[in-house]
């Protein structure tokens, strides 16, 4: 008895076996099992996948709005770029190849194209800040939407379909973990420090030798890359995309998830995205009134907890071990 307890304590002690890596591996195996043997019904699987996609989106927006302290309201545009590029690739180019490797390649390509658009958006951010930059990002998302509407070969305003349902739970889990991992390492890297410095005081950061231009460019590229990835996954989950899918309402939804969970916190983004997605489903019995109750809850949350659920704090297991006691991550 004592031996078992001892064993359990040893296994569950944080850092030894029970760390982020083993949890990720176990989660991936679980996700594979769930989708292979249908351990959960389709509705719950869909909900889990939506949570994963929303976590990716929220993290990508949090990088700009939370960590860098800028205000982007156009992330739906990056998402649209990723969704359309990856869908075009799987439907037209890779149609004859095995989806096992064609699908991740397509999603990756969607992310890369979105990243390039992010690079273009980063250029105005050198000079403009705050509300004006918000307008720049909004304008870019509207331009992306407008361009798609004017290309007839991808369906124009009618939308695009024909994708197979390639997004499965293991894939969503994989991309979510990859996103969390890369964004965490990015934030605790040298560039990440630069991003935080830009948020706190751009002039001081500049004077201290942070190349604010490079930092902003990199942040926008990484952020829009992951928004594009989420778009690709979303397109192959819902199997229908149209320019109307990626409008201001989608961007607003992302903003809500970021600020619900708390800015500048990975754990906050995960919590915010999950809480929002689950709550939206839980309120479904209210029918048409659900979207009226949801924002009321949000307003109440903001009045009583203005910094969101986590509010700049970070879960301990998301902080690199060398940082934990340094006080940097507070």
């Amino acid at each position: 008895m004592k031996k078992t307890a001892d064993f359990l304590r040893r296994v569950c002690a944080p850092g030894k076996y029970f760390n982020a890596k083993t949890v990720a591996a176990a989660g991936f195996i679980l996700a594979l099992a769930i989708s292979r043997f249908a351990l959960l019904d389709n509705y719950l699987q869909l909900l889990l996948m939506l949570i994963g996609i929303n976590v990716i989106l929220t993290l990508s927006l949090n990088l700009i709005n939370g960590y860098m302290g800028e205000f982007s309201v156009g992330h739906a545009g990056f998402m649209a770029a990723g969704a359309y590029v990856s869908s075009l690739l799987t439907v037209k180019t890779f149609a004859l190849y095995s989806p096992l490797w064609a699908f991740p390649c397509a999603v990756l390509a969607g992310g890369v194209v979105a990243g390039f658009i992010g690079l273009v958006v980063a250029v105005p951010s050198f000079k403009t800040r705050g509300d004006y930059l918000a307008i720049v990002t909004l304008a870019f998302s509207m331009i992306v939407k407008s361009v798609i509407e004017n290309i007839d070969s991808v369906g124009g305003p009618r939308g695009f379909l024909g994708m197979d349902k390639l997004t499965t739970l293991p894939w969503v889990f994989f991309w979510t973990v990859v996103t969390i991992w890369i964004i965490r390492n990015f934030i605790y890297s040298r560039f990440g420090r630069g991003i935080l410095a830009v948020r706190e005081d751009e002039i001081a950061a500049d004077l201290s030798g942070v190349s604010t231009r490079n930092v902003k460019m990199l942040a926008f590229v990484v952020s829009s890359f992951f928004a594009g990835i989420a778009g690709g996954l979303y397109a192959h989950l819902i199997q229908y995309i149209s320019p109307g899918t990626f409008d201001i309402i989608k961007s607003t939804e992302m903003l809500v998830m970021v600020y619900l969970g708390g800015v500048g916190s990975i754990a906050g983004s995960i919590l915010g995205a999950s809480a929002y997605t689950v709550l939206l489903e839980a309120l479904r019995p209210l029918g048409i009134w659900r979207m009226a109750v949801m924002p009321l809850l949000l307003v109440l949350l903001m009045i009583f907890r203005p910094r969101g659920i986590m509010g700049l704090r970070e879960a301990r297991w998301l902080v690199p071990s060398s940082e934990r006691d340094a006080g940097v991550s507070k």
Binding site: P124, T128, I143, T252, V299, M302, P306, R307
Partner: protein, 291 residues
Amino acid sequence: MIYFFQQALNALQLGSMYALIALGYTMVYGVLSMINFAHGDFFMVGAFLCFVGASRLHLSFVPVLLLSMGGVTLLGVATERIAYRPLRNAPKVSAIITALGVGIFLENFTLGLNPYPKYVPPLLPSFSFNFGGVSVSSFQLATIGISIGLMLALHLIVNKTKAGLAMRAISADRTIVPLMGVPVDKIIALTFALGSGLGGAAGVMYAMAYPVIDPYIGIIVGWKAFISAVIGGIGDIRGAVLGAYILGTVEIMTAAFLPSTYRDLITFSLLLVLLIFRPRGLLGRAEIQKV
């Protein structure tokens, strides 16, 4: 040429509507330095009040206009009191998110009450004048005339009254002015009242020009009006009006001379180019950063 003048008249009409909404954004921004993202939805509520007044209560034009303006004024003041005032000292983003939340609430609350798009019956007798080939409808005349009248009234309030002086003072310095005995809460409430009232009037004008309304009209029109305010330099009242007429002209002219699906593309591209060269808008002052 007559075609051009006809379109210029349409641009004036659209610009007037944008100007009324943009004024609400820019005034609130002036006193609170906060973007009231729910403002576009205040405008939408104004259009729906117009529907209620015209088709349920069978009122004529002037009572409907007063009903919309009064209702939206109350809504604006109440929103400020309930949702924004507790957050005045909170981080700026919480106030923005609250505003977004209020906006989504208004949209979907209205959707719950009116699940189908509504048709607003014409409020004015429909006739048109002819000026050398350019025909001016009674709706256009009313929209442009009332907008300009309201803007002049606003101009007088802001520049000639004591409350207007207090408003300008708060927008110039928000730390010192309260110490001088200016009742900040009252002035901010008044600003919301004026801005929302103009938004309500714009709702009536929208319902006259595009009689089929749904709860989501506030989103895109609101953002366009916000863009007008930014083009002019947000926080600047003359800038908002200028920006609105520029945006109205660009939108109507691209739709008139190019395929209309290019309208948003060209509008937003122009906006980007403008912001690259004038990052603080046309009339906005350069922000002085003290280190």
